[in-house]
Amino acid sequence: MYRKQVRRRRAVLLLLVAASLTLLSLYYREGSSGGPLHGAENVVSTVFSPISSVTDRALKPVRDLVNWFHETFDARGDKAKLQDQVASLRDQLARDQTQRQEAKELSALNELTSGGIVPDGTTPVTARVVGRSPTVWYSTVTVDVGSGDGVRIDDPVVAAQGLAGKVTQTTSNTAQVTLITDADSAVTARVQPGGATGVVEPDVGNPNDLQLDFLERGSHIAEGQMVVTAGFSTGDLGSIFPPGIPIGKITRATVEEQQAYQRVHLSPFADLRDMDFVKVLRTHSGKGSG
């Protein structure tokens, strides 16, 4: 009897491990072009999308409360003095801060996208961030607009302060946004003023540091300079990002690193770990309004 149980346990374990590995390799082989596994994944995501949206709103006070504790811990110098007052106002404060933050983020988003960075032929649509990958390896977020709103793969996505990433998967009412801190991300960029160009790549695991690689030799870049998307276009090949979207600010630019590796470091303008709203720059006209 015991041996039978052990055999059954081992068989189920082997079966599950084999299933996982098979799914991994089949999915990897399908690539980004799609296939039956991508289709099945989209169906499940679509089914769970309304549940995720409702749960997101329902659990937002809990999340804000935990984040509030973290921020308070950081400012512990002021904490003791204000603790009594804050304790009585905690619930009200959490609600007010959430609404204010959302309004501020939306206003900044509108300012950014109405400032001339939206090229002709694209329509921005506002989206709420409803999911985030729990690991540092997958720098992706899920937003609550999808192909039904006119969002397509490779559409650029901007946050309130600057470039956030691009759409890499869509379902009818959600889309996966791969952030510029993702291991697979690479954005052609230009340093302003000066005009030196390079490719912005991530430093996986460190969301506050990006690298501007492949700089032209002889370009002199200083800390504090701004980096924007270059938006190169050569014949049929063009960057998916329109030119002029702010990406970040140069934080480290040593002469040695520029000469030896043709590289400088920058920090992104967008707070990629704490975004509630983003704008997807639709390159095709969609039915939704933004």
Binding site: R8, R9, V12, L13, L16, V17, A19, S20, L21, T22, L23, L24, L26, Y27, Y28, L37, A40, E41, N42, V44, S45, F48, I51, S52, T55, D56, L59, K60, R63, V66, N67, H70, V129, G131, R132, S133, P134, T135, V136, W137, Y138, T140, T142, T168, Q169, T171, Q176, A183, D184, S185, E201, P202, D203, V204, G205, N206, D209, Q211, R273, D274
Partner: protein
């Protein structure tokens, strides 16, 4: 754990809620620069309470759901959570019911194991970009948070599946009054 259709339905609901809550709530929290991996602790708890087979199947199912909801490579999280559920269950079957200290240590260890399996899958499928040392720091902080959350999560899962636990049934059947009163 006695698996009746009712308990399987409860486990399915628990898994679905845990996966959705992880993505929309816990992953967006900022605790010491990282976020708590609660869904992994739920798989660990089911393994501890239900044994290796239940833990492995639960972990695989919840992991697969996470893969689908994240629109990521299918099988990555499934394999990770399957490992966590199975190892937790095997601990219960070979060592016995864990003490509170052991639960915290197991929570930390299995969170670290989960981070390592995900990292191995990522490296196996090819990462072209530089990998910062902060990945290691993230895994360590996450495992410490896992140690702190393991007991409350286990107690929560225990509440959900309480009626199916063999220990609870034995306790309920055990006579509570003094033996001398039972028979002359």
């Amino acid at each position: 754990m006695i698996l009746t259709p009712g308990i399987i339905a409860r486990l399915a609901a628990l898994g679905a809620f845990a996966a959705v809550a992880q993505l929309v709530c816990f992953s967006k929290m900022d605790v010491f620069g990282t976020d708590p991996d609660v869904v992994l602790l739920v798989a660990f708890s089911v393994g501890v309470l239900g044994g290796s087979l239940t833990g492995a199947v639960f972990g695989f199912s919840v992991g697969l759901l996470m893969d689908c909801l994240l629109l990521e490579t299918l099988g990555g999280f499934a394999l990770t959570m399957l490992c966590v559920g199975y190892v937790a269950g095997r601990y219960r079957e070979t060592v016995g019911r864990p003490t509170r200290g052991a639960v915290a240590l197991l929570g930390a260890g299995l969170t670290l194991l989960g981070a390592m399996v995900i990292a191995a899958i990522q490296i196996g499928t090819g990462v072209d970009a530089n990998v910062s040392f902060l990945v290691v720091r993230d895994a360590i902080v996450k495992s410490m948070i896992g140690a702190g959350l393991a007991i409350p999560v286990l107690l929560g899962v225990r509440l959900v599946v309480r009626s199916a636990l063999v220990d609870e049934r034995r306790a309920a059947r055990r006579p509570t009054g003094p033996r001398a009163v039972e028979a002359p």
